[in-house]
Structure formats: C-alpha cells, structure tokens
Symmetry: C2
Subunit: 323 residues, 2 copies
C-alpha cells in the first residue's frame, strides 16, 4: 500500500473537467421515482438510473475520463485493464469511441457471455489462468508488449473524478436530497459521490450499502483501516472487490455510515424494483434499497438519492430462480 | 354485433378532452432510444414506454378517462369490468383515485398473483367459474346489485379516446415519425393511435403487430370482416382477445398493414430489449420489435415509433426459462 503523500487525490475541479470531457460520450441518465416505493419506505426516493448508461453501467464515466484525458501519443498505445465486469465493458466502449485499442486480461474460465460482451464493445481479450499470479504475469506481458496505459477499475484519480460526475448531474436533476445511498465494492462510485457532494452539498449524508457477505468496507470503516477479504461470495457480484488506498481515503473522510443487507434482502429488493419500477438492474444496485427497507426509521420523511449502478444482468441466471 | 350507425365513434376532440381529464392521474411516460437497436434494425426507433405508466400499462389512460368522465351520481355507484389483466388493474387504480368502488369479475382459477394485484389497487373481486356463461351471469348479477358502470377493456369510445392520448404525447416528444408500430389484441391502443394520428399526422403509416399464433386481426384485415378465434395460445397473453366493432372500425379505416411474428421471434425480441434497453416489459410489447427485425427492409432508414404497452410481467415465469 502506498503512503498517502504519494497519492494524487482528485478535486472537484477534476470532476468538472471530467464532465466536460466525457459529456459527448455518455448519457445524462434519468432520475426515476416510484410512488409505490415511497409509500413502502416512508421516504421520498430518487433513483439515478445508471443502468441506462452507455455500456450499461456508471463505470463508463470514469473509463471515458481516463481514455479521453490521455495525450494523443499515450492514447495511440491503447489502454489495458484486468476485469471481467463492467469496467472492462466501459473501458472497451470508451477506447472504441476514441479509436484506440483496449486490452483486457480475463481468466480463461470466465463465462463466454462476459467475453462476448467485451468483444462486442471492441475489447481485445488476453486470457490468463484463474489465479492472481497468472493474471499479474499475463497483464505485465500485455503492458510490456503494447505500452498500453493501465486504467484501474476504481483506485485511479481519473476514474474517481469521472464517477463524481454522476452525483453532479443528480443534484442538478433533483434540486438536492438529505441522504445519498450508493453501493460499495471497491469504492469508486462512493468516492466520486464523496468528492462531489463534499464540495457542492456538504450537508448531504452519504451512506454506503454493502452485502453482509462481503462486508469488508463495513469492517474497515469500523476498524479505521482497510480490511480486505479473500474471495467473498455474494449475489451482488459487482461488490466483491476490496477498498484500495485512494477509495479508502474518501470513505474514511466523507462517508456518514455503512449499512449492510443479507443475500435474501438483496434479492427481494432487486425483484421488487424490477416488478414495480420496470427496470432491469444488477443485484448490486438493490443493496441500497435493501438497507433502506431494513432501516426504515432512519430514512422515513427524508429525501433520499439512490444510485442504480448498472444493468448488465445475465437474464438466464436470475437470483430468484432456484437451481 | 351492433350496426355501425349505433356506434359512437370518438373524435380527436374526445382525445383532447380525455387528455385534460386524465393528466393529473397518469404519467407522461418517457420516449427511450437505443443505439444498439438502431444499428441492428437500420431504423431510428423511438420507444414510448408505457411500461412505466401508472398501474404498469397504457390501459390506465382509457380507464381513467372513463372513470373521471362519469357524473358524480353515476360515479357513486362505481365501475365494473371483467378482466384479469391490465384493464382490471387500471380501472381499479382510476376508481381508487376518484374514491369510488371498482368491481372486477375474475375466474376463481385466475392466478393468485393477479387477484392480489387487483386487490392491491383497491379492486373488489367477485369470482366466477372459468366459463363465458358463468362470467356473464356473475357480471350481470354484480351490475344489477351495484348499478356500477360497465367499462369494456377496449370496445368503448371513452377507452379509445383515452388511449389516443398516448400518440399525442409521443408526437410532441419526438417531433414525428414515418411509421408507428403498436401491438394489436382487442385493438384499443391501435384504435386510439389511428384516431389521433389520422387527425394530427395522417402521413404516418400505422402498422399493427400481432403474434402468428393469435393472428385473428391479421386475418380479419385480409378478409375485410372480423374473424374471432376461440382461445388462441401465445406468450403475448395481452393479445389473445378479438377485435370488436368499434376497434374494427379504426383498424379497417386507418391501419396501413398488420405484420406477424412467431413465438420464438417474440421471445427473442423481448429478451433482447430487456438485455439492451434494461427495461422490464411484457411479451406483448416485444411483438412490434420482432416484426421490425423480420421486415428490416420495410423500416430501414425510417423514423419508427414503437409503443411499449406495459410492464406487468410475472417475474417467476419468464418465457426464455424452459419448464
């Protein structure tokens, strides 16, 4: 872990620059409301629907900021990452928009559907064995061969500044809220949220929502230092990764609280949202609503923002279908 | 079947009056686009998302127009219908908004989930046996006992004028299209579309989309008279009902063509829309896209409106899950 002084901590000016840079490449996603869910929770909920975002997730904000912030010389060598999730799709999408290569290192055992999705956005996949050592070795080889710029899924100031554009739009669209709730995995979205709201609306409480079965951020928050779990299992598969030094900086400085929900509560909230709001969203996006439903008294009577982070779901494997 | 002279054929003035009457009770639903589906079809598609409508379907437009158009004396006796689908939900919702009873006659064999949904919107269910004779007898008894006003799901000028408000909004939101495609079952939505577009944009082609396995409207259109099938089977369960004299009037007068799609094509288009547009919609809503995909040359290069009619899906029974 690097020492703090080495870190470049992005500022709100970086968010503003990011927003101008990425605006032509992303959607200004809608904010939806639901009278049914308002009645159920007693709160006034505002859902920022990044499931409707380009490449299907908020991660295209940070990825686009990284890609379009490169000099022409750096950009020509392309970008690279290791991810089999939304960051890989988003970086591939952004690189495609700039017309540069995007190298993605993925385990050969990753589902074919995920590989096809990355290729569908123009990503170039190099397969590794399903181990950390193989991934690191293969990634180093790809980077050495191509000179591509590494873009980390979340522990990168360019990425965090990009994610910060989401809350900026949200505040313009809603005129403000009392509490903002977003899921926490590696902490990229929550860090961007902290970065923006601490500058433009410091009175807003920021609550991170996490699966009980991958509650490393919750335990880090209580302990005062990063705790990383080895391969936690949760249906909210976007939230399995640990905090890193940059995201930990924002979490410990600006997050009001971290609330957790069980697997069953997450699946129930996911299905309820699909059924009543008629939107397709990932299990990870249901963690905020699950925590709001189980901590009703804390949210009732408040204006509450909820970030729906993505919509890239395997429709053949929905978690409420057993077996 | 009544003779034509007896029918009250609604006019565009009725649509305007309906729109003013129902505006406080419905959503002005968004129009969404998808770069992926535009590329796939070669057309520029505009999806009017009535799956986000109150009570989850466009039918709340017609139902609200009927309910809020009643005199206070008539309204006090309530409204009644026989339906186990979106019309029952919509009429219950509208009656609830006016604070009057809504009586719904449903077969006792209807799924508990559908009964619960109607009750959730305040509808009062009277059960009948699952036969036409029982339904008619029970409905007559309910009407005699309550004096409630019968609101037919589609063969009613108030309902058709209400559905006509959807295309009016759509044209304002998009600035116009070359072709408008909507699914056809009983013909309420397509009749409302014909009523509005023939008045404000008569140059727009109106295409009705129908399941091959319930193609009674297609065959009626070719034959020049109503053909009604007995209990057709299709995954697009909102489209099983036959045309009636009032909807047939609009279909034969204003519809440009009727296109059909197979069950597999409908399910594929449904899953594709969920996967790429991240919206939950009923199988019936996928019939337009299915027909556009299989008649690509007819739509390519055109601005095409598609009405997504509703989002009330049983999430435990998705048609791409076998068994």
């Amino acid at each position: 872990m690097k020492d703090l002084p080495e870190m470049h901590i992005p500022t709100y000016d970086d968010v503003l620059a990011a927003h101008e840079r990425i605006a032509p490449h992303i959607h200004r996603t809608p904010v939806l409301t639901s009278s049914f869910l308002n009645e159920l929770t007693g709160a006034q909920l505002f859902f920022k629907c990044e499931n409707f975002q380009k490449a299907g997730a908020f991660k295209v904000r940070g990825a686009s900021n990284a890609v379009f912030g490169l000099s022409d010389a750096d950009a020509a060598r392309g970008v690279a990452t290791h991810s089999s999730g939304n960051h890989a799709l988003s970086l591939s999408y952004a690189a495609g928009r700039r017309g540069i290569p995007c190298h993605v290192v993925m385990p050969r055992t990753a589902p074919e559907a995920k590989k096809a999705a990355v290729r569908g956005y123009g990503g170039i996949i190099t397969e590794c064995e399903p181990s950390t050592s193989s991934r690191e070795a293969v990634f180093a080889e790809v980077q050495a061969r191509t000179g591509a710029e590494f873009v980390h899924p979340y522990n990168d100031p360019r990425v965090i500044a990009g994610q910060g554009t989401c809350s900026r739009e949200f505040m313009e669209q809603t005129g403000g809220v009392d509490i903002m709730v977003a899921p926490i995995g590696g902490g990229g979205m929550i860090s961007g949220t902290c970065l923006t709201l601490s500058h433009i609306a410091p009175e807003v409480q920021i609550i991170a929502a996490e699966p009980e079965q991958a509650d490393d951020a919750f335990r880090s928050f209580k302990a005062g230092h990063i705790i990383a779990d080895d391969a936690p299992e949760t249906v909210a598969d976007g939230l399995k990764v640990p905090l890193k030094e940059l995201t930990w900086h924002f979490v410990k400085t600006h997050v009001t609280d971290i609330l957790t929900a069980s697997e069953e509560e997450i699946i129930d909230a996911m299905k309820l949202t699909w059924a009543r709001m008629k939107i397709v969203m990932e299990p990870s996006c249901a963690v905020p609503l699950a925590t709001i439903l189980k901590n009703r008294e804390r949210f009732a009577g408040k204006r509450v923002g909820v970030i729906i982070t993505g919509g890239n779901v395997d429709l053949d494997k929905l978690p409420w279908f057993k077996g």
